[in-house]
C-alpha cells in the first residue's frame, strides 16, 4: 500500500451483558475523552480532527440514522462524519483508504452497540434474511452458524470436546482482560453440559450478549509520529463477500475469508501467515469459528483445524489473548475491538495479557450468515 497509515490511540469501555445505566452518548464520550487525551488532538478548524467515522446499526439501535444521536459527542458538529453500517473492522479499512486518498490526515473512529437493548439479537439478525424464502424458514445468524458448524465438524473432524477447550481458554484469557468484567471462567465440562442453542452449538460456545463502545484515532504517518510514541501501522487490508443464499455456498470452504486474507497479505507483503504474526485477534462469534477461521487465515492447513487445536496452536500462535469475541463484544463491533486489542498489544499497553515483543499482528472481522463477509487487517510497529 502506498503511504503509511497509523493507529495512534485506542480506547474502549468495558463490555458487559447489560450496561443499563449508560446511553450510547455517555459511553462514546468516555472513549473520546481518552483518545483526545492520548494524542493531544482537538477539533479546531483546519488543524484539528475534521473527519470521524462512526460504527453502529439502525436495527440494533432501533433508530433510523443511528449516527444521528452521536454527531455532537463525536465532535462532528460542522465537520465530516460518515457511518460504517457494517462490521466494525471496516471502519479501519475505510479510514485507511480515506487517509491514503489525501482527503484528510487524521480520522476519529468510534463504534457503539448495545445488544441488550432489543429483546433478542437473533430477532435482529433474522432480518438480514430475505423476506420470501430464508426468513420464513426461520434463519438468523445463530441458526446459520449451527448449519456451518455441523458441516465444518463433519469435514474437519473437530469435536465438541475440542471446542469446549476453546471456550475454556477464551474465558481464561478474558480474566486478564480489564475490559471484560462480568464473564466467569468455565471448564470444558461446563461447556459440554450447557444447553443446546442451534445444534451443534451450545450456549457457552456462543459469544454472550454484549454492550460497549470502542474507538481509535488513525492518521497519516506524519501526524501519527507527532501525536503518538508507538504508532501502529496498518500495512495490509482486505475484505470479501461470498454468496448470500447458504445453498449457493460450500459452507466449509472459507471462500470469502481466504480471499480477504489473501488480499491483506499481498498488500502487506506477507508470504507465510503461519510464521508472520506475533499474535492474532480473530472474531470467533461461536467456538467452531476459531479453528475454522484459523484454516481460512492460513494459520494452519486446510482441514487441519482439529489437529491445530490439539497441538496447542492457539496458544503457540497467541490467538485471541484478549479472550476474542467469545469473551463478549457486540457483534457489529467485534472486528474493531480485535483491531483495538491488536494495536494495544503492539503499543505494549496490553497489561496482564501482553504478548512480549509483539511487532506484527493480524486482526479479523466477520459479518453475515455463516461468515458471508470477512475483513482482515495487518498491523505492524516500527
Amino acid at each position: 500500500m502506498a503511504g503509511r497509515v497509523g493507529i495512534c490511540a485506542v480506547a474502549q469501555t468495558t463490555y458487559e451483558r447489560n450496561k443499563w445505566h449508560m446511553r450510547f452518548q455517555g459511553m462514546a464520550l468516555d472513549v473520546l475523552e481518552s483518545l483526545l487525551e492520548q494524542t493531544g488532538l482537538d477539533f479546531e478548524e483546519d488543524t484539528g480532527i475534521d473527519t470521524s467515522i462512526s460504527v453502529s446499526d439502525d436495527v440494533f439501535d432501533a433508530r433510523t440514522i443511528s449516527d444521528n444521536a452521536m454527531t455532537d459527542v463525536l465532535g462532528a458538529h460542522y465537520r465530516c462524519e460518515e457511518k460504517i453500517a457494517q462490521e466494525g473492522l471496516q471502519a479501519v479499512y475505510y479510514a485507511a483508504a480515506t487517509i491514503l486518498s489525501g482527503h484528510t490526515d487524521k480520522i476519529l473512529i468510534i463504534g457503539h452497540c448495545k445488544e441488550s437493548q432489543g429483546q433478542s439479537r437473533n430477532m435482529a439478525t433474522h432480518m438480514a434474511f430475505d423476506p420470501f424464502y430464508t426468513r420464513p424458514v426461520g434463519l438468523d445468524f445463530q441458526a446459520a452458524a449451527g448449519l456451518q458448524a455441523r458441516a465444518y465438524m463433519a469435514r474437519s473432524g473437530v469435536t465438541g470436546e475440542q471446542l469446549a477447550r476453546v471456550v475454556e481458554r477464551s474465558r481464561r484469557n478474558a480474566q486478564k482482560n480489564p475490559f471484560i468484567t462480568d464473564l466467569p471462567a468455565v471448564t470444558a465440562r461446563e461447556v459440554l453440559a450447557s444447553p443446546m442453542l442451534a445444534d451443534p452449538i451450545r450456549e457457552l460456545e456462543a459469544y454472550p450478549v454484549s454492550d460497549g463502545c470502542v474507538g481509535l484515532i488513525m492518521a497519516s504517518e506524519e501526524v501519527a509520529r507527532k501525536v503518538c510514541d508507538t504508532p501502529v501501522w496498518v500495512t495490509g487490508l482486505g475484505n470479501c463477500m461470498d454468496h448470500f443464499f447458504l445453498g449457493d455456498r460450500d459452507l466449509t470452504s472459507n471462500f470469502a475469508l481466504k480471499k480477504a486474507a489473501g488480499l491483506a497479505f499481498k498488500r502487506a507483503g506477507i508470504d507465510d501467515p503461519k510464521t508472520a504474526f506475533d499474535l492474532v485477534e480473530l472474531s470467533d462469534k461461536f467456538a467452531y469459528q476459531q479453528p475454522m477461521w484459523a484454516e481460512g487465515l492460513g494459520l494452519c492447513d486446510e482441514g487441519a483445524g482439529g489437529r491445530w487445536l490439539d497441538q496447542g496452536g492457539p496458544e503457540r500462535m497467541r490467538v485471541n489473548p484478549s479472550g476474542g469475541q467469545l469473551a463478549g463484544n457486540p457483534g457489529i463491533l467485534a472486528g474493531l475491538v480485535r483491531a483495538a486489542e491488536a494495536a494495544l498489544q503492539l503499543m505494549g499497553r496490553a497489561g496482564d495479557r501482553q504478548v512480549d515483543g509483539a511487532r506484527r499482528a493480524l486482526a479479523h472481522g466477520v459479518m453475515g450468515p455463516a461468515g458471508q463477509f470477512h475483513t482482515a487487517a495487518i498491523l505492524e510497529r516500527d
Binding site: W20, M22, G26, K114
Partner: protein, 272 residues
C-alpha cells in the same frame, strides 16, 4: 356508451363484488365521489363491519373525492397514477384525508366488461405483508435520566456549557459547538414564550400501531424563562393554535400521572 365498454358507472356497479375482505375488516368509513362530466355522477361508498355498500348520491360522506369522468376511469384502468393526478390538482379531496390510506386496497382491480376472468391471471405478482418489530428497552443514561426525573417532579432542567454558557434542553452530554463535556444543571421556566409553531394537518399513522395522531397538532419551540441559547421543542395545546403568536406567554400543562417521560408535560398552553 354501450354496456360492453368500461365506464364510470360500471366501476361503481362492480365495486361490491370486488371487495378485498382483509382491507374491509376493521374499517368504518364513508367515502363520497363526485365525478364530473357527461359520464359522471355521485356515489357514496360505506364500509362497516367488514361489508361495503355502494349507493348513488352523496349521503354525508366523511371524505369526498372529486375528479372528471375521464380521469376517474383512467385511474381505475391503471392508466393514470393517483398521486400524480392528485399532485397535479386533477383530483380534489375534501374532508378527512386520513381515511384514504386504509381504503387504498379496498377493491380488487377493476376490469372492463367481459374481462373479469383475466384478473386472476394478472394478479401474479407476489406481495408479502409483514409487521416486523423487536421490543426495546431504552436506557436514559445519567444526563437524560436526570432531566426525565426532573419532569416527574414538575421541574424542567437544562444543562449549561462551561465554555460558552449556552443552555441545552433537553440536556446533552456535550456542547456540540465547544466540544466539551457538560455537567452543570440548572432549572428553567417552567413558563416561557412561544417562539414559533409548526402546525401539522397531516399525521402519518404509526407503522407499528396503525394509530394516527389527531390533527391539527402543533410542534413548537418555546424559549423558557432563564434559558439562554436555545429553545425547547415540545407541543402547543391544539386549542391554542388560533392564538399562537411569537412572544405569547406559555406554561406547561403537567400530566396527572407522571412517570419520568417527555409526556409528563402534556403540552404547553398560552397564558392569558
Amino acid at each position: 356508451m354501450t354496456d360492453q365498454e368500461a365506464s364510470v358507472k360500471h366501476v361503481f356497479q362492480t365495486m361490491e363484488s370486488r371487495v378485498n375482505a382483509e382491507a374491509a375488516a376493521g374499517l368504518t368509513a364513508s367515502y363520497g365521489y363526485r365525478i364530473t362530466g357527461e359520464n359522471g355522477g355521485e356515489w357514496t361508498v360505506t364500509v362497516k363491519d367488514g361489508s361495503v355498500k355502494v349507493i348513488e348520491g352523496l349521503h354525508d360522506p366523511q371524505v369526498v373525492t372529486t375528479a372528471s369522468d375521464q380521469d376517474f376511469l383512467a385511474l381505475n384502468l391503471g392508466a393514470l397514477d393517483a398521486m400524480t393526478a392528485f399532485s397535479a390538482g386533477r383530483i380534489q379531496v375534501e374532508g378527512n384525508m386520513n381515511l384514504l390510506g386504509p381504503a387504498a386496497r379496498l377493491f380488487k382491480k377493476y376490469m372492463p366488461p367481459g374481462m373479469e376472468g383475466v384478473e386472476e391471471q394478472r394478479e401474479e405478482l407476489i406481495r408479502l405483508n409483514q409487521i416486523l418489530s423487536i421490543p426495546q428497552t431504552f436506557s436514559t443514561g445519567p444526563i437524560m435520566g436526570k432531566f426525565l426525573k426532573g419532569l416527574k417532579d414538575k421541574r424542567i432542567l437544562a444543562n449549561v456549557c462551561p465554555q460558552c454558557g449556552r443552555y441545552q434542553v433537553p440536556p446533552r452530554e456535550v456542547c456540540a459547538m465547544c466540544r466539551v463535556r457538560v455537567t452543570e444543571f440548572r432549572e428553567i421556566g417552567p413558563e416561557g414564550a412561544l417562539t414559533i409553531a409548526d402546525i401539522a394537518y397531516y399525521a402519518s399513522p404509526d407503522p407499528l400501531t396503525g394509530e394516527t395522531r389527531e390533527t391539527p397538532y402543533a410542534a413548537a419551540h418555546f424559549m423558557l424563562d432563564g434559558c439562554v441559547g436555545g429553545t425547547f421543542w415540545h407541543e402547543l395545546n391544539p386549542a391554542d393554535i388560533p392564538r399562537a403568536r411569537p412572544g405569547a406567554r406559555v406554561r406547561p400543562v403537567w400530566a396527572e400521572n407522571r412517570t419520568g417521560s417527555i409526556n409528563d408535560i402534556l403540552h404547553f398552553e398560552i397564558v392569558d
